[in-house]
């Protein structure tokens, strides 16, 4: 291990948070409280998860691993739902989309022999996939809400001409899927040029040969591309119907 992070260095690194807080205070951004809550939550959550993972890795039980993966997926779905702006059935849609996107991606990685069903591999990778899918779905929801408001007149006109809900919503759904996937695509384009992503950096910190580390990163890039595309497509196609009532009339959800 090349990197030495001890409790003392963590406390000193807290100074970085002070810089952010000072900027927020000086610029009157009104985010001081959120920042403090964020930092406290991050520290507590990470400590809890660190000890939990240590325990889970040690006992290496298949069912416990599966339960933890489902908890990750449910939490990701719940958080994506929070960004839905009142879209009906957003929780089952989000959990379903993340479950399928994570399941398919993990399945392909396992079949390819890239990972094994052991907690030290499955849990972190599930977390990475589910969190990226969650962000993509959140962006999809935001875009669906914005577009259905902005394009209300065009949707009404399509309905008035006798378009079914899919035809009336097609452009919006496509734009929303694209919005959900865009950060992953942009990040894939710039990986290695602009950023050295977390997993690759972590491996290099830990002393792994960079050439070996990039292979992991390539795998991560592929899996995130798959997860965000499946998650975005499913969430958008399941969610757009929530913008219509049972008489197939446009209704923009109330927040």
């Amino acid at each position: 291990m090349n990197l030495a992070v001890n409790n003392q260095s963590l406390v000193l690194a807290l100074g970085l948070v002070m810089i952010a807080l000072a900027i927020g205070w000086k610029e009157k951004l009104g985010i001081d409280r959120d920042m403090i809550i964020g930092v406290v939550r991050a520290v507590i959550q990470l400590f809890v998860v660190g000890y939990l993972l240590k325990y889970v890795f040690r006992i290496a039980n298949i069912w416990l691993t599966a339960i933890l993966i489902f908890i990750i997926i449910f939490n990701a779905g719940y958080n994506a739902k929070q960004r839905s702006g009142g879209i009906p059935k957003a929780l089952p849609i989000s959990v379903g989309a993340i479950l399928i996107s994570t399941g398919v991606t993990l399945g392909v990685l396992m079949l390819a022999g890239a990972i094994k069903f052991i907690p030290s591999q499955m849990i972190p990778i599930s977390g990475m996939i589910a969190s990226n899918s969650m962000v993509a779905i959140g962006l999809c929801y935001r875009n669906l809400n914005a577009q259905f408001k902005q394009e209300r007149q065009a949707v009404l006109e399509k309905l008035a001409l006798g378009a079914d809900l899919k035809d009336a919503s097609r452009d919006i759904v496509r734009a929303s899927i694209k919005t959900g996937m865009q950060p992953t695509i942009d990040s894939a384009k710039t990986v290695g040029i602009v950023s050295l992503p977390g997993m690759m950096s972590g491996l290099i910190f830990a002393g792994v040969d960079p050439v070996r580390a990039i292979k992991y990163q390539i795998m991560v890039t592929f899996m995130l591309m798959s997860a965000t595309s499946i998650g975005s497509v499913l969430a958008c196609y399941w969610a757009y119907r929530g913008f219509y009532n049972e008489r197939k009339q446009l209704q923009v959800p109330s927040n």
Partner: protein, 230 residues
Amino acid sequence: MVCNDFYAEGALTVSLLTLKNVGYQVGKQQILRDISLNIDAGEWVTFAGPSGSGKSTLARIIASLLSRTSGDLTFDGQPIDSYDPIAYRRRVSYGFQQPTLFGETVRDNLAFPYQIRQLPFDEQRAVTALEYVGLAATDLDKAVIDLSGGQRQRVALLRNVIIYPEVLILDEVTAGLDAENKAFVWSLIDHFNQDDGITILTITHDQSEITAAKRLVTIVDGQVVPGGAS
């Protein structure tokens, strides 16, 4: 059964559209109340009244873009709720005051009604229709952003009728057009009614259109004005 009882009460023939005590309420606000009308196939009914009187709401209810909150509405002898809304809207088409043109070209718009019915686009019919409304065959591939206001409204109207509906509801489609375009669009609507037999419901504020109305229904404060319906 509801409509059979209704017709048994008095009407001798089945009107194409029948509204009986139709109302629309949002929260505590009553937008429309007790609207009762019979509209026969082939009629041209003009709805007039001040802004905010509920004319467009009524038109959207008839077009199934909104649902009434009280009363009965039947189309072709059947309650409107018994129709699939999509199939119904293909028979009862609604045109907007400031239409949004879809896609990039005129073709995208005239092909849309075919596309949603999964029918092949009849380009010859589209060209004939364009020439009829004073546009050229080459305008089929013209970018919609290059169309004038009058041309946009003509293309939008063609989009509504390129596959004939039975009823065409037009919500102030001549508003904002110059006199020449207004007269042209009005003559087109007359053609759809007289020559193609389409039942027309128009909403207007234009005094000359109100004066020329074949049948006028005046709506004030969400109600048909007594004597305002002819």
